[in-house]
């Protein structure tokens, strides 16, 4: 087995007295795409937000357990350093409305001091937009506001924004839930290329079984705050061990 990028042990999360995650153990291998699937309300999104400690923005939340990223426990680290390890793409496209397309991508690089000069910044923005497969569509209007783009383009812009901070791990929270099939396919292509060319580790939350099968190397099945099954995509897609997984893959949930 490839060494894990993320290692989770006994992770529990309570929000306002309600158990959302009830003891999750999981390893996300490096330079792979791991799909986290499961019905809505199973704790997938919460799990993702624990990884970069975004969960701490929520009121009245208790987290216990251990999360190691490249060997270090994220709860012992400076929260801002943890977040810089991850790029994140959200369920609804959310490019900053007050920034141009260019600045939306550049801001991630800027706050993380990725670029040392204006020229380097330009290069990173271009690189990120190319990797997000958006460059050709926006190269002539980099200074337009982002809301001129279609929903799918906006989501790829958000991917580029996350990439420009040069993260080692990419977290995606149902990134295609609100966009059309063509844009979905483009985003999935982009993810596969990133894993292949840039060795980026990807964790993608999805409630669409087909998407999980299409893009991932590993699948993790969440149900009711627990991991019920995990394994290589090929195995799980063909012969899941658990009944819940089977029903989910058949689209019965």
């Amino acid at each position: 087995m490839i060494s894990p990028a993320i290692e989770v042990k006994g992770l529990r999360v309570r929000i306002s007295g309600k158990d959302i995650l009830k003891g999750v153990d999981l390893r996300v291998p490096e330079a792979t795409i791991t799909a986290i699937m499961g019905p809505s309300g199973s704790g997938k999104t919460t799990f993702l937000k624990v990884l970069n400690r975004l969960i701490e923005l929520v009121d009245d939340v208790e987290v216990s357990g251990e999360v190691r990223v490249y060997g270090s426990n994220i709860f012992d680290m400076d929260v801002y350093k943890v977040r810089r390890l991850f790029g994140m793409v959200f369920q609804t496209p959310n490019p900053f409305p007050h920034l141009s397309i260019y600045d939306n991508v550049a801001i991630g690089a800027k706050v993380n001091n990725v670029a040392r000069s204006r020229k380097e910044l330009d290069e990173i923005v271009r690189w990120a937009l190319e990797k997000a497969m958006l460059w050709d569509e926006v190269k002539n209007r980099l200074h337009d506001p982002p809301w001129r783009l279609s929903g799918g383009q906006q989501q790829r812009l958000c991917l580029a924004r996350a990439l420009a901070m040069k993260p080692r791990i990419l977290l995606l929270d149902e990134p295609t839930a609100n966009i059309d099939p063509v844009n979905t396919a483009q985003l999935e292509d982009a993810l596969r290329a990133l894993r292949r060319d840039e060795n980026i580790t990807v964790a993608i939350v999805t409630h669409m079984p087909h998407q999980a099968i299409r893009v991932s190397d590993y699948i993790v099945m969440f149900y009711d705050g627990r991991v019920v099954e995990e394994g290589p995509t090929g195995e799980i897609a063909i012969s899941p061990r658990e009944d819940i997984t089977r029903r989910f893959l058949r689209g019965e949930m």
Binding site: R53, E56, V63, S64, F75, D78, V79, Y80
Partner: protein, 322 residues
């Protein structure tokens, strides 16, 4: 486990907490300054400061009286600063303003919400906003030059000649500058403010309740009466907060109220309100012992009215829940 807070967050917390605390400090200072400067006058005049109707500036300080004994007549000699007429003037003008202002408010809310077409409603709503922010001194100069004389000629004179036997209208209006004029002017000024409060509640009535009312075959009058009865707490709150606004207004009132130490049931006489008394007497007050302190005792009343009315008003507003 509680993750450690980074130093950065702690610094941000304190740099934001500082300005927040400063704002609270301002209110505390406001209370302390009114109280602190007022206290000496209570030392000589006691609570009679609020129960006597004599305003007699003099270089001779007021004669010491029993602090806790409310008197109606002050000592014969020496200075005396009784605030009763100003308190009375404030009450009378503010109550007049509330009676008229509430009528305007209900009419405007019902008109905008139930009668006017959308375009007209938007125009009215803009006008109400425009009224809300208009500098009060502009209301004042208009009241002084136009509204006062108008009311004098067409309202006060006729009412006095026909209804003069009623104590409220018994005194002969000598000019337009009366407590009644102040009340009318204030009613115009507080209306937009009260409209905002009542309208917000009126809009919060769920559509299903309104539908139910219509389905019972109610006429518009019955329907509106039902709706208004559902938001009674917010109407009460608007009355209180409107009263607070009316009692604290200074510039406009000072220009139209007549500024005379006067107490009586007749609303066609010139009078003082607390704020106009302060505005008029403040500059001279530093020359006479205890006069400035007496004015701060008046300010203290205004502050207490403001704070109390505001707290009760907000509690009442919270009671409108659907």
């Amino acid at each position: 486990m509680a993750p450690r807070r980074p130093l950065h967050d702690i610094i941000v917390f304190y740099s934001l907490a500082l300005p927040a605390s400063l704002i609270i400090l301002i209110l505390l200072l406001l209370l302390l300054s009114q109280l602190g400067v007022a206290i000496p006058v209570f030392g000589v005049q006691g609570i009679s400061t609020y129960t006597t109707a004599v305003w007699r500036p003099s270089y001779d300080p007021p004669q010491q009286t029993i602090i806790w004994l409310p008197m109606l007549e002050p000592p014969q000699r020496g200075a005396w600063y009784g605030l009763l007429p100003a308190i009375w003037g404030t009450l009378v003008s503010a109550i007049t303003a509330i009676i008229l202002g509430l009528t305007f408010t209900i009419a405007l809310v019902v008109f905008m919400e139930e009668i006017a077409p959308r375009r007209v409603r938007e125009v009215f709503s803009t006008i109400v906003d425009l009224m809300a922010g208009l500098p009060t001194v502009l209301y004042g100069v208009w009241g002084l030059a136009f509204l006062g004389p108008l009311l004098h000629k067409y309202v006060m004179d006729p009412v006095h000649s026909y209804l003069g036997i009623i104590p409220l209208f018994s005194c002969e209006p000598l000019s337009g500058a009366t407590v009644f004029t102040a009340g009318v002017l204030l009613s115009i000024m507080i209306t937009p403010f009260m409209v905002a409060l009542v309208q917000e509640s009126y809009r919060s009535i769920p559509f299903t309740l309104k539908e139910a009312a219509w389905s019972l075959g109610m006429t518009r009058f019955e329907y509106v009466r039902l709706n208004l009865s559902m938001i009674l707490p917010s109407i009460a709150s608007a009355i209180l907060l409107g009263f607070g606004r009316a009692s604290s207004e200074t510039a406009a009132v000072t220009l139209v109220v007549g500024n005379a130490v006067n107490i009586g049931f007749c609303i066609f006489a010139p009078a003082y309100t607390i704020s106009s008394l302060i505005a008029n007497q403040f500059t001279e007050s530093q020359d006479f012992p205890y006069m400035l302190n007496a004015l701060f005792a008046g300010g203290l009343i205004l502050l207490v009215i403001g704070l109390v009315v505001n707290s009760i008003g907000i509690i009442l507003l919270r009671r409108v829940r659907f």
